[in-house]
Symmetry: C2
Subunit: 179 residues, 2 copies
DNA sequence: CCTGCACTGAAACACTCGTTTCAGTCGAGG
DNA sequence: CCTCGACTGAAACGAGTGTTTCAGTGCAGG
């Protein structure tokens, strides 16, 4: 990496990354600015640049942090049949507590599509692969891709309309046909 | 509207809007800036502000223009059964010629979720409603919401990975179960 | 003690941003 | 001719941007 800054694995860096991550969950990544961010997490632009190398480096670290949160979810899923897995995934996606993370996720996804260079590069494709790997263990193609599409599409619907009942019913209808 | 500028329906405005729309399809909306945009479409920031009132007014007009393109698609769809409709929709979504529009669409969707105020407001929900209205004519709930989810989810997958075969097969599998 | 190293504060640099001010140009209507 | 309104160019304004420079602090190991 050419942009990691000086304190690659330092504890102070982890600490600030965590605080910045919490900040970004609330404010989004789109018009992230160093001065307001630094002020709210009790740091300074100078220090963020020192620890992350550049703003792009910071954004990359934040995106990586978001992906870690996603991978953590996918890691400790109840190992069972496909229907149970999908139900667990949707329960997680629909939980209000995860809404901020998922909004951030959609934002990063959108940016990654329009700007294939820059810090977002590869973010969209990476999450598709991550999820497909999990679903591929319990479903053959094309059912895995279809299940992923249902979850992602229903999530977009839910985030935009807030209608948990309708979107939940659609996912349930899909799951019901699996068994 | 408080932000439409002076030349609400002028021909010059339509002309520049069209040029700006083409520009935005190529460059995305995220870091749109008046000076580079004006330069490339043969105008000036001064004029854009005059015709659209503010940058937000311009962005709103561009988002409206994108939605018009979407509504035009939904309007002249072959009236038939659900399976035929879904196949036609996916064919449109997967067409390389529409990729720029769809990327712009994802970007606007993401921004609308993270910034409920501002010019993006309502964009995400509006497109969900538009599509659901069309699908609701040939499919009952929860099948309509599910079909929308499959199309949207498969589209996200396709835009990120470029794998037309796999995503197309997933949509086809879903459609096949309808009849 | 002293040297090095991780870290930080203050201030400046060199932009770019949306927007405004002022001064026009041009063609149509009275 | 004259005026009015639509439209435009040049330049400036003030704020905010990522980043750099310089000058430190405080604490570890030799």
């Amino acid at each position: 990496m050419a942009d990691e800054g000086q304190g690659a694995g330092s504890p102070r860096r982890e600490e600030l990354l965590e605080a910045a991550y919490a900040y970004v969950l609330r404010h989004g990544l789109a018009d992230l600015s160093l001065r307001p961010l630094a002020k709210e997490i009790g740091s300074s632009p100078r220090v963020l640049l020192y620890l992350f190398g550049s703003k792009d480096g910071l954004v990359r670290a934040l995106l990586g942090r978001a992906r870690d949160a996603e991978l953590a979810l996918l890691a400790d899923l109840p190992a069972g049949d496909a229907a149970g897995l999908l139900r667990a995934l949707w329960e997680w996606l629909a939980a209000p507590a995860h809404r901020d993370l998922l909004r951030l996720w959609v934002e990063g996804y959108g940016r990654a599509l329009t700007e294939p260079d820059g810090p977002w590069a590869g973010f969209a494709e990476a999450t598709v692969r991550d999820w497909l790997a999990v679903l591929g263990r319990v479903l053959p193609e094309p059912a895995a891709t279809e299940a992923l599409a249902v979850l992602r599409g229903a999530l977009l619907d839910l985030l935009a309309t807030g209608e948990a009942r309708r979107t939940g019913a659609a996912v349930a209808a899909h799951v019901a046909r699996l068994s």
